[in-house]
C-alpha cells in the first residue's frame, strides 16, 4: 500500500486538458506549491480550478493564471490578483463565486458521499439564482450540490507512505476536505515518514483518500500579510 511517487511531475500524471482540479489552501497558506509548479511546466490547458482563492500575481494559483491554463475558477475570494481581473474582464476566464462555507461544505459533501447539502448562505442574494430554496423549521436554505473533481491536490505537513496526513495550524483549511473529494487525490508533504511513525489518533486525513504522495521540496511558504508587534 505504498503510494509514494518520486516528485510532483510524476504525481500530476493523468491530469489532462479540460479537467476539474481542487487545490487546497487559504490565500497562500497551505497551498500545494510543488504541484502548481509542475502543472505550469506541464502546460495543461482549459482547467477548471476549485480553490478558495486565486493566489497572487506571481505565486500560488496566480502562476497558472499567468500561463493561461485556467478556463474557469470556482472560489470565494479572488481579490489579490491583477492578472485574474484582466482575464475575467476580458472574458478569457469564467468565474463562479461561492460563499466560503458553501465551498467547504460542497467539498465535504463529495468526500462524504452526499450529493447535496442545505445551507442558508446566499438566500435572497444573487448566489441563490437558479437554485432550489427550501424551508426547514421556518428558515430558508439553498440546496447546493457536491463538487465533482477529477483530481484534488493538497498540501500537508507530515504524511506517511500509506497516505495518512497531518496538517499544521491554519494550513489545514480546505486541504482535508478536498483530500476526501477528489476522484484521484495527490498529497505533497513537507515530511514523508514510514507507516507507524504518525500517531493514528492524530491523523487528519486517513490514507484511504490519498492515491499519490511525495515529499515536496523548496517550499517558499510566502506570507501574504506580514503583521507583527514590537517586542
Amino acid at each position: 500500500m505504498n503510494k509514494t511517487v518520486s516528485n510532483a511531475e510524476e504525481a500530476i500524471r493523468g491530469i489532462t486538458d479540460g479537467m476539474t482540479l481542487m487545490l487546497g489552501g487559504f490565500g497562500l497558506c497551505g497551498i500545494p506549491e510543488n504541484c502548481i509548479t509542475a502543472l505550469v511546466k506541464a502546460g495543461t490547458k482549459n482547467l477548471t480550478c476549485i480553490s478558495n482563492n486565486a493566489g497572487v500575481d506571481d505565486f500560488g494559483l496566480g502562476l497558472l493564471l499567468q500561463s493561461k491554463q485556467v478556463r474557469k475558477m470556482i472560489a470565494s475570494y479572488v481579490g489579490e490578483n491583477a492578472e485574474f481581473e484582466r482575464q475575467m474582464l476580458s472574458g478569457e476566464l469564467d468565474v463562479e463565486l461561492v460563499p466560503q462555507g458553501t465551498l467547504a461544505t460542497r467539498c465535504m459533501a463529495a468526500g462524504y458521499g452526499m450529493p447535496a447539502i442545505f445551507t442558508p448562505a446566499g438566500v435572497g442574494t444573487e448566489v441563490a439564482i437558479g437554485k432550489e430554496v427550501r424551508n426547514f423549521n421556518g428558515k430558508d436554505y439553498l440546496m447546493e450540490m457536491a463538487f465533482d473533481a477529477d483530481f484534488a491536490i493538497v498540501k500537508a505537513w507530515k504524511g506517511d507512505t500509506m497516505g495518512n496526513l497531518i496538517y499544521r495550524d491554519t494550513a489545514r483549511n480546505f486541504n482535508p476536505l478536498m483530500a476526501m473529494a477528489g476522484k484521484i487525490t495527490i498529497a505533497e508533504v513537507e515530511h514523508l515518514v514510514e507507516p507507524g511513525e504518525l500517531d493514528p489518533n492524530h491523523i487528519h486525513t486517513p490514507g484511504i483518500y490519498i492515491h499519490r504522495i511525495f515529499q515536496g521540496s523548496n517550499y517558499e511558504k510566502r506570507i501574504e500579510q506580514r503583521t507583527v508587534r514590537k517586542k
Binding site: 487559504f26 490565500g27 497562500l28 497558506c29 497551505g30 478558495n52 472560489a75 470565494s76 475570494y77 479572488v78 481579490g79 481581473e85 475575467m88 474582464l89 468565474v95 463565486l97 460563499p99 466560503q100 462555507g101 458553501t102 465551498l103 467547504a104 461544505t105 467539498c107 465535504m108 445551507t119 442558508p120 448562505a121 446566499g122 438566500v123 435572497g124 442574494t125 444573487e126 448566489v127 505537513w157 499544521r168 495550524d169 491554519t170 494550513a171 489545514r172 483549511n173 480546505f174 486541504n175 482535508p176 476536505l177 487528519h204 511558504k221 510566502r222 506570507i223 501574504e224 500579510q225 506580514r226 503583521t227 507583527v228 508587534r229 514590537k230 517586542k231
Partner: protein
C-alpha cells in the same frame, strides 16, 4: 463624532464574558484591542482558529498561522485548529455568540450589502454570506454616510445583497442604531457631541426616535 477607534471601542462594549466572537476585517478587528481586562473572550477566525491571539512578535511570524484576513497571528492557550467545514459548521449552528462586520449598506429590515459594487471588480464574498445567514447576533461597524455624503442606512439596499434580515445593531461615527423588523432603525445612542438632528439627516431609512436619546459612554 467617533473615529474608527471610537467605533471599535463602542462595539467592544457589546462583548460579554465567555463569548465566542468572529471579527471581520477592518474596524471589527480593532475591537479585539478594547475588550475589558479580565473578560475572557475567544476569537474565531473562519479559516480555522478558535483562540486567536495578537500579531506575533517580529521574527516569530509563521506562514502556517494566519487569520481570515491573511495576516500572521498567534494562538492563545486553549486554542484549537480545524478545517473550513467545521469552521463554517460552528458558524451555521450558531455556536459563535457575536459576529461583528463591516457593511456598505444596511436596510431598515436588517438586510446587508457588503460584498459587491456593480461596475467595479468583484473580489468575492469570502465567508460573509455564511456569517450573515447564520449568526445569531450581528453588529455592523460602518460609516453612517459614504464618501459622496449619501446615507448607508437605507429603506432598501441598492447594492447586491449579502444577506437578508440579519443585522441587529449598527454602530457608526454618529450613533448606535438597532434594527426593529417591520418598523425601521431605532436610535439608541448619539455619539459624543452629535445631535439627534444630525443623525436624522444622515439616515435615509426610517429612524425611530423614542424619548431622550442618551450619549454613548466610551471609556
Amino acid at each position: 463624532m467617533l473615529d474608527k477607534i471610537g467605533i471599535a471601542k463602542r462595539i467592544a462594549r457589546e462583548i460579554q464574558d465567555g463569548y465566542y466572537v468572529n471579527l471581520g476585517i477592518g474596524i471589527p478587528t480593532l475591537c479585539a484591542n478594547y475588550i475589558p481586562e479580565g473578560m475572557h473572550v475567544v476569537l474565531q477566525s473562519e479559516n480555522g482558529i478558535l483562540g486567536m491571539g495578537p500579531f506575533p512578535f517580529e521574527g516569530d511570524e509563521d506562514a502556517d498561522l494566519i487569520n481570515a484576513g491573511k495576516q500572521t497571528v498567534t494562538l492563545l492557550p486553549g486554542s484549537s485548529l480545524f478545517d473550513s467545514a467545521m469552521s463554517f459548521g460552528m458558524i451555521r449552528s450558531q455556536k459563535v455568540d457575536l459576529t461583528i462586520l463591516g457593511a456598505m449598506e444596511v436596510s431598515e429590515e436588517g438586510d446587508i450589502a457588503n460584498w459587491k459594487i456593480p461596475g467595479k471588480m468583484v473580489k468575492g464574498m469570502g465567508g460573509a454570506m455564511d456569517l450573515v445567514a447564520s449568526a445569531k447576533n450581528i453588529i455592523v461597524a460602518m460609516q453612517h454616510v459614504n464618501k459622496a455624503g449619501e446615507s448607508k442606512l437605507l429603506p432598501k439596499c441598492s447594492l447586491p445583497l449579502t444577506g437578508l434580515r440579519c443585522v441587529k445593531r449598527i454602530v457608526t461615527e454618529l450613533a448606535t442604531v438597532d434594527v426593529i423588523h417591520g418598523r425601521g432603525f431605532k436610535l439608541i445612542e448619539r455619539a459624543p457631541g452629535i445631535s439627534v438632528e444630525q443623525i436624522k439627516n444622515a439616515t435615509a431609512g426610517r429612524l425611530i426616535i423614542e424619548g431622550e436619546i442618551p450619549e454613548m459612554q466610551i471609556s
